[in-house]
Assembly symmetry: C2
Homo-oligomer: 269 residues x 2
């Protein structure tokens, strides 16, 4: 999907919501557990209920890996289902991978060939070798961790370098330098719990999309993210996971998720 | 496995070799491809041939994920096989994961409960939140990326902070500070392609084990790693992948791998 196509979806649907599919067998309604593929059944119902109010889905890969082979199988089924029924959706593998070139190429194969994700989240620690192999796939995106929503983001991400810039800024500026027209292929993760930082980052990174987690269960506000983070092309995908997919634990879980997506603050029709 | 048990294995076997199971369907001998589980069959033969000469195995998770469900299945089979037949082996999931607490807990479940790995490699970018959930498993280890073997390690890992220390040093010292008796639970990845740095790192991190990739195909030397990196408890696990497992592409692949392990420079009987 191109930058322009993504922006046009956001305009058309009046939404910048990304629904995080952090699907946990311990948290899904118990009546699903007797089904053959409970994770997939849950995701399918959540997707059907929330699709009118969002532009993106983000399965968090850890939740699937934790269930072993069966989890991986249901992840593949989920991506295929979204891709076929809602081809306009932007599908993000929240994998936070990061490895040397030959290994990164295999992660790219897993997420872009074996499964048809549009984007994958990546950790920048090892540098551009960990990013480049993903960019060989035309039309696919990388979403690089910059300033994350968790408390210990301050352990390293905000550490100040000898030239006075924090590490997260060095990450963004370095990536923007090495990838031509990077706003067309690269997004950055900036946590909603640091909304005041969004305005600061917009100053040196005006055109890119940011993937913004941390709204809802983690305490960030969609209103503040839009206020400080958006640009002319919207420029933010706001992710909410638990507050939407676990809005109800009853038989009405899908309907409740739809309502929560509609009222997430990221949908403005 | 404890620090003492690992060191005693190294002493007993006279080896600090870790064999990297970067098993790639494109590179394994063609006669295996008609079998039901060619990745597992390859790994099984490699393990049986190399076990006398090494103390650890390190499946690189990307190679298995790239094959989807079947890859994940054969990874589980590989770990079970090593655990049952060679219970003294230290088994490392080279996953380079790194995510917030609730997600990290699920990766820990995948590698320490669903599969019986002894250790997992982790990316430090997001800070201690990404590390702590793994340390809740007694007897299990985390192996944190510090100074990696790839060229673009210089993009961020060696960047100098305002107090004059490079980022990789901040990572090591920070982790050592926050984990009590950290040398018993935490190792660091330091690339063999930077052998001269090993001596420098030993000065501020004397007791820990380092996992040292980059010997063989990437150009590092086992002799230099041992010269600059070892301590009283050996202190290094030297990983070699391609140079061992692809020593021959013929029917003698396992025997050739055994010979390559024996002559890796990491075995001194």
């Amino acid at each position: 999907m191109t930058y322009e196509e993504l922006y046009s979806q956001i305009e058309k649907k009046k939404s910048c919501l990304c629904v995080g599919l952090d699907t946990d067998l311990k948290k899904i309604p118990s009546h699903l557990l007797s089904m053959e593929n409970p994770i997939f059944e849950f995701n399918k119902a959540i997707v059907d209920a929330t699709a009118p109010y969002c532009v993106a889905y983000k399965p968090n890969i850890a939740f699937y890996e934790a269930e072993g082979v069966s989890g991986w199988q249901q992840l593949e089924m989920t991506v295929s289902y979204i891709r076929e029924k809602y081809p306009e959706m932007f599908i993000i593998a929240d994998a936070k991978r990061g490895d040397i070139g030959n290994t990164a190429a295999l992660y790219a194969k897993a997420f872009f060939e074996k499964m048809d994700f549009d984007a994958v989240t990546l950790a920048p620690y090892m540098g551009r070798d960990a990013i480049d192999p993903f960019l060989k796939y035309e039309g696919k995106w990388v979403i690089v961790l910059a300033l994350t929503s968790n408390p210990s983001a301050e352990d390293f991400e905000t550490k100040v370098l000898e030239d006075g810039r924090p590490l997260f800024r060095e990450v963004i500026e370095n990536m923007n330098d090495i990838v031509p027209e990077s706003h067309q292929r690269v997004m950055y993760v900036v946590g909603a719990t640091r909304a005041e930082k969004l305005a600061e980052i917009r100053e040196f990174c005006p055109k890119h999309f940011y993937l913004v987690p941390g709204v809802g269960a983690q305490g960030g506000s969609a209103e503040e993210v839009l206020k400080y983070g958006s640009n002319d092309a919207c420029g933010v995908l706001i992710n909410s996971s638990r507050a939407i997919i676990y809005a109800s634990k009853g038989e009405d879980f899908a309907q409740a998720a739809g309502e929560a997506a509609k009222n997430s603050g990221c949908y403005w029709k």
